[in-house]
């Protein structure tokens, strides 16, 4: 009963506005996988935004003697009694084969403190802060996902790295979409010589295996760049490769749109070319573009990761999911510290979430498709 009334109320509300956009959004909300993907993305992006606060350590806080320390066990029972969650101090020793073994020092527990003071960081790059969501008192350390080769906390580094990996997708896609839509729109709308030139340019980019192009572009710049420069460079490289495919599709669509009556009417009204392109043609491409946006972000995330994995992208000590995974490139070593694979799982989840969201968007905006729940 309750549900019916709420359905009715949404229907009446829909009747008031019911733009194509609101219909599509309502359809999207019913698309369960897409909404699940959307929620995963909300979680991942909030982790990235609040990385400084949530991560117990800074990205470069190292403790060499803790190299490859396994994930810290969080205990709840101290001498048989339930207590606040705590960890033990872990120590590293070598057995008679000179293999590392880790021992918990059971003499004294270190309770996990919430909202405690730790490494300092800056909020929005201005305010200094030292509060972290959780942490333990030195000399004990809490490694939720284990430690890397220099005894840095992998969990903290994944959070800090997510800022690079997740933002590069958005920014890279933004740049190449603006480029692709602009050039593709112009090519399709004006046709003739401009069309010819832009399309030949597209072909040049598309006819090179993208990975080779990525490598060559990276090599055109010096290797000793600062982390910010490398970041911008990766954005430029990925957008340079990505715009061509989109430009071709947008060109085709605007080519067919410009023959439509409403565009001819707009032209007869004396609206400028730019006005027609931005007000009449591009909005009609919106449905295609929103889905294509979500579906192409994974390519950028993977591109950044691949470059960083090969040591051509973000460099140590700065973190990105790709360069964190480069610890796993020594295959025969993984068995000793399998937690180095965790960054890859994060990449997988981010990519998967964008893929389902993109699928959902495409279905939601497709007027010919009836939605299956």
């Amino acid at each position: 009963m309750n549900r019916e009334t709420s359905n009715q109320s949404t229907e009446t509300r829909d009747k008031k506005i019911k733009t194509p956009f609101s219909i599509a959004m309502a359809r999207l909300r019913k698309h369960r996988p897409a909404m699940a993907g959307f929620r995963v993305l909300v979680v991942l992006y909030s982790l990235a935004v609040f990385a400084d606060f949530i991560a117990p350590y800074g990205f470069d806080n190292e403790k060499r003697e803790n190299a490859y320390l396994p994930p810290t066990k969080v205990h709840l029972f101290y001498s048989g009694k339930l207590s606040k969650p705590f960890v033990y101090l872990c120590k590293q020793e070598f057995d008679h084969f000179y293999r590392r073994i880790y021992k918990e020092d059971k003499s004294s527990p270190y309770t996990i403190k919430f909202f405690c003071r730790g490494d300092s960081y800056k909020i929005l790059g201005i305010f200094k802060a030292r509060v972290h969501l959780f942490g333990v008192k030195e000399p004990a350390r809490i490694y939720l996902f284990g430690a890397d080769s220099r005894g840095r906390d992998l969990f903290s580094r994944i959070l800090h790295g997510s800022r690079v990996s997740l933002s590069i997708g958005i920014i890279g896609v933004g740049v190449s979409f603006i480029l692709g839509m602009f050039l593709g729109g112009i090519a399709g709308y004006f046709g003739g010589k401009i069309d010819n030139i832009i399309m030949r340019l597209c072909e040049v980019v598309m006819m090179v295996p993208s990975f080779y192009l990525m490598l060559t572009l990276r090599a055109a710049f010096p290797s000793n760049l600062t982390s910010l420069q490398v970041y911008l460079l990766i954005v430029v490289i990925l957008s340079f490769i990505g715009w061509a495919g989109l430009a071709r599709v947008v060109r085709g669509m605007s080519l067919s749109l410009k023959e439509k009556e409403f565009v001819q009417a707009a032209r007869a009204c004396g609206i400028s070319h730019i006005g027609i392109i931005t007000k009449h043609i591009l909005p009609n491409l919106f449905s295609y573009i929103s889905a294509a946006l979500a579906l192409s972000i994974p390519g950028y995330i993977i591109g950044e990761s691949a470059l960083s994995l090969l040591g051509l992208g973000i460099q140590d000590p700065y973190a990105s999911w790709g360069n964190l995974l480069s610890d796993a490139m020594a295959i025969s070593e993984i068995q000793r510290h399998p937690w180095v694979l965790i960054p890859g799982i994060f990449i997988f989840f981010a990519v998967a979430a964008f893929n389902v969201l993109g699928d959902g968007l495409r279905d939601a905006f497709d007027p010919h498709k009836t939605m299956s729940k």
């Binding site: 040049v204 006819m207 295996p209 990975f211 080779y212 060559t216 055109a220 995974l325 025969s332 998967a352």
Partner: protein, 321 residues
Amino acid sequence: MKAYIIRRLLISLPLLLAISFITFLFIQIAPGDYFDTLRLNPQISEETIKLYESQYRFNEPVLIQYFWWLKNLLKFDLGYSFTQKNAVSSVIKSRLANTLILSLASLIFTWLIAIPLGIYCAVKQYRWPDKIFSGLSFFGLSIPSFFLAIILLYLASITGILPLGGMRSANFEGLSWAGKILDILKHLIIPTVVVSLAAIASLQRIMRANTLEVLRQRYILTARAKGLPETRVLYKHVLRNALNPLVTIFGYHLSDILSGAALTEIICNWPGLGSVMLTAVRSQDMFLVMGTMLVGALLLILSNLLADILLAWLDPRIRYE
């Protein structure tokens, strides 16, 4: 048809020229060159380097260097690779074969699995096999190839069934010819699976959608109405019509595989074009970069052409004049 192929090849010539020129420019922009690394080696005298530089026209203006490279290209001379200490053409020849082996294996593997799977899922639409494979194909689309490669190699290192990357075992030379082939096949499994998985996933989805589309057509209804057995309907009527749109994708697929193979080659240590490109780019081995880029682009152009020809051959409605 012949005229069409010739015209297409002629059109791609300026494209290749443009690609090679842009590549050349990018390498020129890059700070330093291979000789800077040579200069760090105290065993090589400055005179030798000077000699090298004049031999390969490094001291002349950029455009002249480019035209010199082009002129040699007409004689099928791609220049000399400083890092591999060999002519670029012979380096590429051996590496290209390996890349083609991997790409071909992936292509066959992909189509052999994806097409039956797509049809099967369409026939079983919304039932549990369809749901399971849809889930799996989603997984295949989302897992990055490098991560999959690392995981498979890791599993191989634990179980010891498959070799850990590379193309040949250490005792390769001592094997019989059958043993040699078996050895390479063994090394081929992981990279092939890695390159194919995403392709299988997307192709399976497309094939499923195509089959569903064809199953709705009236002629299928007719075929069933006149009492044809279901297998005959599937193989004679559905399969052929559902397969048609896939041919258009074939060319793009091939280029995806070629590009995707590069990263997989590097991680699996497969000695193909991708890994040679990485070392060439890293050490600024100019002629090798140019050569690899050119061959890569040529492969893509040829695969797209092949797709168009196949399409015309399969679909009688299409005529290229």
